[in-house]
């Protein structure tokens, strides 16, 4: 239908009244008063049961026997299920079928769910789940990436992206450098843990309330697990208490288990994981190791690059294919790489299966190239910013990515120059040098790093969306769309779009819970695409309705279409105006349909999965951040002192929501690279599975000086919703500036010749920083020895 609708009346220059204004989150008043309802807050029908999962205790092995008699006999227990009790398909894998709900026999990570209990209370279920007696035949477990590489243990085949002749170019390079880097994973730590409530309906149907970014996938997986059709399952989600990618493929597990238990018992079943279980049994951001060799010229411009990327995928594929593809596609970040080879290994380990996380592999790719930029600058003894700038994509030449998509919307030079000025980068660079010269213990560091992030799902098919808009006869409007609300303000933005199109104040528009029975076949709210896709779909529906009202008004009042306009809650009909409501009532009386579906698919994109080339991204989002840190060289402790950010959201749909995404993303990125460390013991058990041991940033970590701004006056060149740009993921990677600033501070330590700067492992915990300082000191000492 109204594909890619470009409303005649709204060009880019149109001044909007609702869109683009700093309106608050549609649930803000509910959040602050505790009245926003999350899945766990829903009142349950009488007789509802509560579920808990039983977990494996070894990383790899076969279940020899599973004695659940004590579990069954425990007080309050109503039902216990294992793999054999699954009525339908035993899988919740999003792409491949390698994620069993419960393994039949083969356990592949410590903490893998192997059975479930439903009981009269959460506590009873959790206590009972601990009573299982399971015997295993242990198998050797692969617990880290290097070991997996050595054993060629992969979940899916290795991919290679190559352009030009990097080997030859390396040979001919003026300078060459080798290095490697380890990049840690990250737990999502959404404040609301995984939860699903399954409510049996008549005739075999199931209603599921799931905290999910992907209701359609939950619907499909629940249908398959129950051996039912998709139309038998309805999945709803009004809001999540945070998602960050952790509720893309993971919620299906919890929903399937709740649904199977509900189907078996005939009762409503709630499965809410506690924080430890959640962190142990759900996937995280992939950790990586990378080895690289780079060739560059006197200015630091890269002439050849060979990069090996290896990620910990865990025991199954989950979304690791597209995640690692995106890593490959973001090794370039903001830089032109003429001769480049990127090899990407997707390692299989006996640890939890890693999954989507804000940035979806992109951040790890960027970390590699940013590290290389820094290495080059240290080698040449120049400011890393100058090396970065020398390598930026061009606007007319040097502007084709390794996957052969031309960069057509490059604003890197503009925004970098601007931030360099407003952050006073050069002056601070010299005052920091002076400070460091006089301060043997505390060292400061500064780094300005860019972000260029491709927007669209890599897989073209996901780039579509639907919406449903109803106008009721009191003039109120109800919108439903395929996107989900996880705090990012998507519902607010979509409501703004609909209100704008219908000339209504925002209060007239309500967005209802995402519901698979209202808008079907949706994509995950992921890849930052929420407002791009759903905003356009809702706009299309609103325009359809407006067009119907215009047509009606033209017929009724003998007007031409240009004489009918919607603004400020009223409708201009030639010389007269009417209340919107009044016109709606007249239209209803004249039997005009006041409900419309809208649909959108992203234009221009295509991608060949075999050659790894095409135009996977509709456009790019950009940003720059300058971070200044202090490092205590005695202990390795660090502190962020100041950050300056300039970020590109095209023409903002809502500046306060966008700023919120930028600030939150930045701090989350900084947490990933500083304090958030995942630690497994030698048995493959994750030991950082609660906030007591896994440390996300707190309020103190937000720096005392922070200047965060949107890029002004640069609308999206592509025809996106009101020329805005996606904002969910890209700001996370602004956090890389903090990591590079720490590296800058480390580099300034000690006297004597600077050996090649030892790699700083991420996250840069105090221990990692001190370790690097030790290596640097040892390297210096060795150099001195050689010299003498």
């Amino acid at each position: 239908m109204n594909d890619n609708a470009d409303p005649i009346s709204f060009t880019t220059n149109h001044t909007t009244s609702v869109v683009g204004t700093p309106l608050r989150h549609d649930s803000a008043h509910l959040h602050v008063s505790g009245r926003a309802i999350y899945a766990d807050d829903m009142r349950l029908p009488a007789g509802s049961l509560h579920a808990a999962l039983g977990m494996s205790t070894i990383a790899h092995g076969r279940i020899k026997s599973m004695d659940l008699s004590a579990v069954r006999a425990a007080p309050g227990v109503v039902c216990v299920i294992t793999a054999v009790d699954i009525p339908g398909h035993n899988s919740y894998g999003p792409i491949l079928d390698d994620d069993p709900i419960f393994p039949e026999a083969l356990v592949q990570f410590a903490g893998q769910p192997i059975f479930a209990v439903a009981a009269t209370s959460t506590e009873a279920a959790r206590r009972a789940a601990r009573l299982a007696r399971v015997e295993y035949e242990a198998l050797p477990a692969i617990l880290d990436i290097r070991e997996a590489l050595a054993q060629q243990s992969f979940v899916i085949p290795t991919q290679t992206l190559c352009r030009g002749d990097p080997r030859a170019a390396l040979q001919g390079a003026a300078h060459r450098l080798q290095g490697s880097l380890t990049i840690g994973g990250q737990d999502h730590f959404y404040l609301e843990g995984q939860i699903a409530i399954a409510i049996p309906q008549e005739d075999g149907a199931m209603l599921v309330h799931s905290s999910t970014q992907h209701p359609t996938e939950v619907q499909h997986k629940v249908g398959e697990a129950l051996g039912r059709h998709v139309h038998d399952v309805v999945v709803q989600c009004r809001r999540m208490g945070g998602g960050f990618g952790g509720k893309e493929s993971q919620p299906a597990l919890f929903a399937c288990v709740a649904a199977i238990l509900a189907a078996k018992t005939g009762h409503t079943v709630k499965l809410r994981t506690d924080r430890d279980a959640d962190m142990i049994m759900t996937g995280k951001r992939h950790d990586f190791v990378s080895d690289y060799e780079v060739g560059f010229d006197e200015r630091g411009r890269i002439t050849a690059l060979c990069v090996m990327l290896a990620s910990r995928c865990g025991y199954s594929a989950d979304l690791s294919g597209p995640v690692n593809d995106r890593t490959m596609f973001h090794v370039d970040n903001a830089y032109y790489l003429e001769h480049v080879e990127i090899v990407s290994h997707r390692c299989k380990t006996h640890t939890v299966s890693n999954t989507a996380f804000r940035g979806f592999g992109g951040p790890q790719g960027m970390m590699v190239i940013e590290n290389i930029m820094d290495d080059i600058a240290r080698t040449l003894g120049v400011d890393p910013l100058d090396v970065r700038k020398a390598n930026y994509y061009g606007t007319s030449d040097r502007n084709v990515t390794p996957y052969l998509q031309p960069v057509e919307d490059n604003i890197l030079d503009d925004i970098t120059d601007q931030l360099e000025r407003t952050s006073d980068y050069r002056a601070r660079r010299s005052s920091i040098a002076a400070f460091n010269a006089a301060s043997p213990i505390v060292k400061r560091g500064l780094a300005l790093t860019p972000v260029k992030f491709g927007i669209s799902f890599n897989a073209t098919l996901y780039n579509q969306a639907g919406a449903l808009v109803h106008i009721y006869t009191d003039g109120s409007v109800l919108v439903n769309h395929g996107g989900t609300e996880m705090g990012q303000g998507l519902f607010t933005k979509v409501a703004q779009v609909v209100a704008e199109e219908l000339g209504l104040p925002l209060q007239r528009v309500r967005v209802s819970a995402t519901d698979t029975s209202k808008v079907p076949n949706t994509s995950a709210t992921a890849a930052s695409s929420g407002s791009d896709l759903n905003g356009k779909a809702a706009q299309a529906a609103a325009i359809t309705l407006r067009d119907r009202l215009v047509a009606f008004a033209c017929a009724q009042y003998k007007l031409s279409a240009t004489q009918v306009r919607f603004a400020a809650d009223r409708v201009l009909l030639g010389e007269e105006t009417r209340d919107f409501t009044q016109l709606v009532r007249e239209a209803y009386a004249a039997r005009i349909s006041l409900s419309a579906a809208g649909y959108y698919r992203t234009p221009k994109i295509h991608y060949d999965r075999v050659s790894l080339t095409g135009r996977p991204f509709f456009y790019f989002s950009y940003g720059v951040a300058a971070a200044e840190v202090a490092v205590d060289t005695l202990t390795g402790e660090t502190r962020l002192l100041r950050v300056d950010i300039l970020h590109d959201v095209g023409t903002s749909l809502n500046p306060v929501l966008d700023i919120g995404q930028i600030e939150g993303g930045f701090l989350q990125g900084m947490g990933w690279l500083t304090s958030e460390e995942l630690w497994w013991n030698p048995r493959g058990e994750l030991k950082t599975h609660a906030p007591s041991t896994y440390k996300i940033p707190t309020a103190r970590d937000w720096p005392a000086i922070a200047n965060v701004h949107l890029v002004e006056g640069m609308p999206n060149r592509e025809d996106t919703i009101y020329r805005s740009k996606a904002v969910g993921e890209p700001p996370l990677m602004l956090g890389i500036s903090v990591f590079q600033a720490i590296r800058d501070a480390v580099a300034s330590c000690g006297a004597g010749p600077l050996p090649s700067l030892p790699p700083l492992p991420a996250p840069a915990t105090p221990e990692a920083v001190l370790l690097t300082l030790n290596r640097l000191a040892a390297g210096r000492a060795a150099l001195v020895e050689v010299a003498s």
């Binding site: 602050v32 008063s33 959404y190 609301e192 006089a438 043997p440 919120g660 001190l770």
Partner: protein
């Protein structure tokens, strides 16, 4: 606004507390049922959230009001009976707070801040409390799941009436995690909340209204304080009663703030024995300075919260302010006790290193018998303490810096963790040295995180004692730490790091008292304490 409890027939076997002006009588609650469970599941007040059930995320934060300083009780702060009655409101983590400990107190959850509402009226922004309005207008919520907890932490701060600057707000929010916002708008909201007009509900005046006082007084005065509030829960109100109860039931578990014990229930699903609650023993709620010939000490009773204990200690040892601030979080410090920390005696507990260094001791009691034990002798081995069955800690005694010797005393405690706020130490150190004429005449050093118990570094002390107070001496002493400690590797730090950083902290101790050596700054984190000489403090306090 507050109801009159006398209207209600007082039940005996129940937990009675105030909520929104009503007395709630909770019967048949298991002793370890948490306030969070009760609010959400029994009362349907789902505004308070569970994010971790271990006191670490703050999603469950509520405020508890308690009448303090009424005649007849020993008010924290010393002078008996002299202070006018006041309701003290403090943020706590409801997820690890056992229901029976709320007896006689007032609970304020996020729902309390606005008038009760039946159905869905409009947005009702006018009815929002200034804290909520500030949060709303600063766009301080995204997913909103953390928001009620932040609102309640800020609300406690609001009632405290302190100046709301960035530092103070950040301190107040150390126990609240937000994964969405980056905190900036929340900090802004905190800084702004005092600028709104006084609300009709829960203004600072309303919080101390005679009606609220009367209601709490009546609750507390009710004759049933001693009866069983919940099965297996004993709440003695006098020290004698406590001592004989515990002697008669040495298998019972003493419960103080429950910030350790709570987790045994919520995280480890342990079945606990009978609980004997020390929190209602008025005789244990004191902080007192005792001065005698040749010395003096700070005596802190077993029912004193970490918040109050830290305030008293920092009053005497200002250089410990940072440690106090970084000890858990405000809501944990509001519930937890110093003596609980000592009794739990975790090898990574933060109070012990500095208290051992300062030469603190504990006053123990069993039945009618009391004895004093040097704190360092309390710890025999991992989770093994020199306590007899039925013996408990009455108070901890911390030597005061006295003017005469203070002139030469150097004291510090440092904590190393992955995150600055609200983290468990990888290493925590305590130092107390006396310097005379440029020579270290005595050195007491203790570390946490380095051994199975909080432990003195005797080899290192020996290497320092009698040596000149110089960088060279410190450097020469650092290797002795390896003789003192063979630390473990775990998720917080490796053995090698622990050992290296233990030495680094000793150096920091020197540098901090000798800033010349370090140029601009001696560390990146924490409060700038350029050479705080204890004699300044002592004379200021005198």
């Amino acid at each position: 606004m507050a109801a009159h409890p006398e209207k209600y027939p007082a039940k005996t076997d129940c937990v009675r507390f105030m909520l929104d002006g009503h007395v709630i009588e909770a019967s048949d609650v298991p002793a370890t049922r948490t306030l969070l469970q009760y609010l959400r599941e029994d009362l349907g007040r789902t505004g308070t959230k569970e994010g971790c059930a271990e006191g670490d995320c703050g999603a469950c934060t509520v405020v508890v009001g308690e009448l303090v300083g009424e005649p007849g009780t020993n008010a924290v702060g010393g002078t008996e009976g002299g202070i006018e009655g006041r309701i003290e409101y403090r943020a706590v983590n409801s997820c690890i707070r056992f229901m029976p400990t709320l007896h006689g107190r007032e609970v304020i959850s996020v729902e309390s801040l606005q008038p009760a509402r039946g159905g869905g009226t409009g947005n009702g922004d006018d009815e929002l409390h200034p804290v909520q309005r500030a949060m709303l207008e600063c766009h301080a919520s995204q997913c909103g799941f953390c928001t009620p907890g932040f609102v309640m932490s800020l609300f406690a701060f609001y009632l405290g009436g302190q100046d709301a600057n960035r530092e103070a707000i950040v301190d107040a929010l150390a126990g609240n995690l937000c994964r969405c916002t980056g905190y900036r708008p929340i900090i802004d909201a905190g800084c702004r909340m005092h600028s709104y007009p006084e609300p009709a509900r829960w203004s600072r005046a309303d919080a101390q209204s005679p009606a609220r006082h009367a209601a709490l007084q009546a609750l507390r005065g009710a004759p049933d304080t001693n009866s069983q509030r919940a099965p297996g829960f004993f709440a003695p109100t006098s020290l004698n009663e406590l001592a004989s109860l515990y002697q008669a039931r040495p298998d019972a578990l003493l419960l103080a703030g429950g910030t350790d014990i709570g987790l045994w229930v919520t995280k480890h699903l342990r079945d606990l024995p009978a609980l004997i609650y020390v929190g209602d023993v008025a005789e244990l709620k004191y902080v007192r300075e005792v001065v005698y010939e040749g010395g003096g000490m700070l005596k802190i009773g077993a029912a004193v919260s970490l918040t109050d204990a830290c305030a008293a200690i920092v009053g005497r040892y200002p250089m410990l302010a940072e440690l106090a601030n970084r000890f858990a979080s405000p809501p944990i410090r509001n519930s937890g006790t110093l003596c609980g920390n000592i009794a739990n005696g975790s090898p990574i507990g933060d109070a012990m290193p500095i208290l051992i260094a300062l030469g603190a001791s504990v006053l123990l009691q069993r039945g009618n018998t009391t004895r004093t034990l040097a704190l360092e002798n309390l710890y025999l081995g991992y989770q093994k303490k020199a306590l007899q069955p039925g013996e408990f800690i009455v108070a901890v005694r911390i030597p005061l810096p006295l003017a005469a010797e203070a002139r030469t005393q150097r004291v510090a405690s440092y904590k190393i963790s992955k995150r600055f706020d609200q983290d468990i130490s990888a290493v925590c150190s305590g130092y107390a040295m006396e310097i005379s004429n440029g020579v270290i005449v005595s050195a007491r050093i203790a570390y946490g995180g380095m051994a199975a118990i909080p432990q003195r570094a005797k080899h290192t002390e020996a290497a320092l004692t009698g040596q000149p107070w110089s960088e060279a001496t410190i450097s020469a002493a650092v290797p002795a730490l390896a003789a003192d400690f063979q630390p473990l590797s775990d998720m917080r730090a490796s053995s090698a790091y622990r050992l290296q950083v233990a030495g680094a902290l000793l150096k920091r101790f020197y540098f901090e008292y000798n800033p010349v050596a370090t140029g601009q700054a001696s560390r990146v984190n924490g409060i700038e304490i350029d050479r705080i000489e204890i004699d300044h403090v002592a004379s200021a306090g005198a």
